[in-house]
């Protein structure tokens, strides 16, 4: 019997719960959230396999999915990892990701998988980067861009990311640059189309660099309007939406194949919270099946990207490739 502990019943957590209860290899999903009203609503909408973690016993769960806000993941991962449980974290703050990746040796010693940054971006973008890289003899550059937000926590993280420090990888060194700089017009799958994207405090490079030996450049950009950039230094002037609209991600991989320089561009279009929930739920199931290496890593550590992407297609999360030139 497989029991999953789901911490966080927000936009992503609710979608992850839905994916988990529909999986045949999951028998019970214990849902925990400090907001009792939200937790009860998710439990009731998720069917018979979902139970309210407010009163349930969490001592014999097999795996843990952390879908709460940034800043709440590191201690939870330490706790569950010490109990020998594989953990999937949706945290996407740079500091959280750095601390979670640093738990790698401990996770190896415990023989568990700690999947870091398992969402739409990072997460799905890491799988797309790995999938695109497989067709290259050598990967020189990886550039990730994303547009849109999931739930309110994601919107707050988006707001904060435009004022922090961007972390890029270039020629064997970490470069710290001002978030909100480096405007680049990126083309996302239709109907999103073109969006101005800027450097931001995103953890994608931290997750991708360890998985791609000798990669020369890794960058991540966030789509933002000029209004977003101007108001980024102020507190959010209005409450974020319960859930954002359709978002998109784009991964550009440059490298050499057959002695020739080439570019591969993959992307996806979906509601970010829906895609993040599906990716996180599948990542946890794969971790429990032993299909994700032990230690702490992002989803670029997956070898069977075809299998992962195919299972996501089955739940409606589809990738796209850009063909042609601009």
């Amino acid at each position: 019997m497989t029991r999953i502990l789901l911490l966080g019943a927000g936009a992503v957590g609710a979608r992850a719960a839905r994916q988990l209860v529909e999986a045949t290899d999951v028998d019970e999903v214990v849902i925990v959230d400090p907001n009792a009203q939200r937790r009860t609503a998710v439990v009731h909408s998720s069917g018979a396999k979902a139970t309210d973690g407010g009163s349930a016993d969490h001592s014999d769960v097999d795996g843990v999915l952390l879908a709460g806000p940034n800043g709440t993941h590191v201690d939870a991962v330490r706790h569950h990892m010490a109990l020998g449980r594989s953990v999937v974290s949706c945290a996407d703050a740079v500091s959280d990701v750095q601390e979670l990746l640093a738990l790698g040796p401990e996770a190896m010693a415990q023989d568990v998988s700690v999947v870091v940054g398992a969402g739409f971006s990072p997460g799905y973008t890491c799988v797309l980067a790995r999938h695109a890289a497989m067709s290259f003899d050598h990967v020189d550059e990886i550039h990730v861009a994303r547009s849109g937000t999931g739930g309110p926590s994601c919107a707050l993280a988006h707001h904060a990311a435009l004022t922090g420090t961007a972390v890029d990888w270039r020629d064997g060194e970490w470069l710290h640059r001002r978030a909100g700089s480096g405007r680049e017009l990126c083309w996302f799958p239709d109907p999103i189309g073109s969006e101005d994207c800027y450097r931001a405090a995103l953890p994608d490079a931290l997750l991708l660099v360890p998985e791609f030996a000798d990669v020369g450049r890794v960058t991540a950009r966030l789509a933002a309007t000029r209004r977003d950039r101007i108001t980024a230094h102020l507190p959010m002037l209005r409450k974020p939406h319960p859930e954002g609209l359709v978002g998109a991600v784009r991964v550009e991989v440059r490298g050499r194949r057959g002695g020739v320089q080439d570019v591969s561009v993959l992307g996806a279009l979906d509601r970010p919270a829906v895609a993040a929930g599906a990716v996180a739920a599948l990542a946890l199931r794969w971790a429990l099946q032993g299909r994700i290496p032990t230690g702490a890593s992002g989803l670029a550590a997956i070898d069977d990207t075809v299998g992962f992407l195919s299972e996501l297609v089955d739940v409606g999360i589809k990738a796209a490739a850009f063909a042609g030139s601009g």
């Binding site: 239709d190 309007t225 000029r226 101007i230 297609v313 796209a320 490739a321 042609g324 030139s325 601009g326």
Partner: protein, 64 residues
């Protein structure tokens, strides 16, 4: 007498007022132009769309 009939004399005060009016108009024009530019910069979009190619769903051979 300081003047003849209704024709004003071009005194230093009059010249100063005219210069201030000109300056105020110039500042107003620059301000309005700046405001319009700011609105266009905040709300405007740009860029040339790709002239060839497009997105296609990954399927079949792409996922093998």
């Amino acid at each position: 007498m300081s003047g003849v009939g209704l024709v004003p004399l071009l005194t230093d005060d009059y010249q100063g007022d005219a210069a201030m009016a000109l300056l105020r108009r110039a500042l107003l024009a620059v301000g309005l132009a700046g405001l319009v530019a700011a609105v266009l910069r905040i709300r405007g979009t740009g860029g040339t769309p790709p002239q060839q190619g497009g997105w296609r769903e990954l399927s079949g051979p792409d996922l093998q």
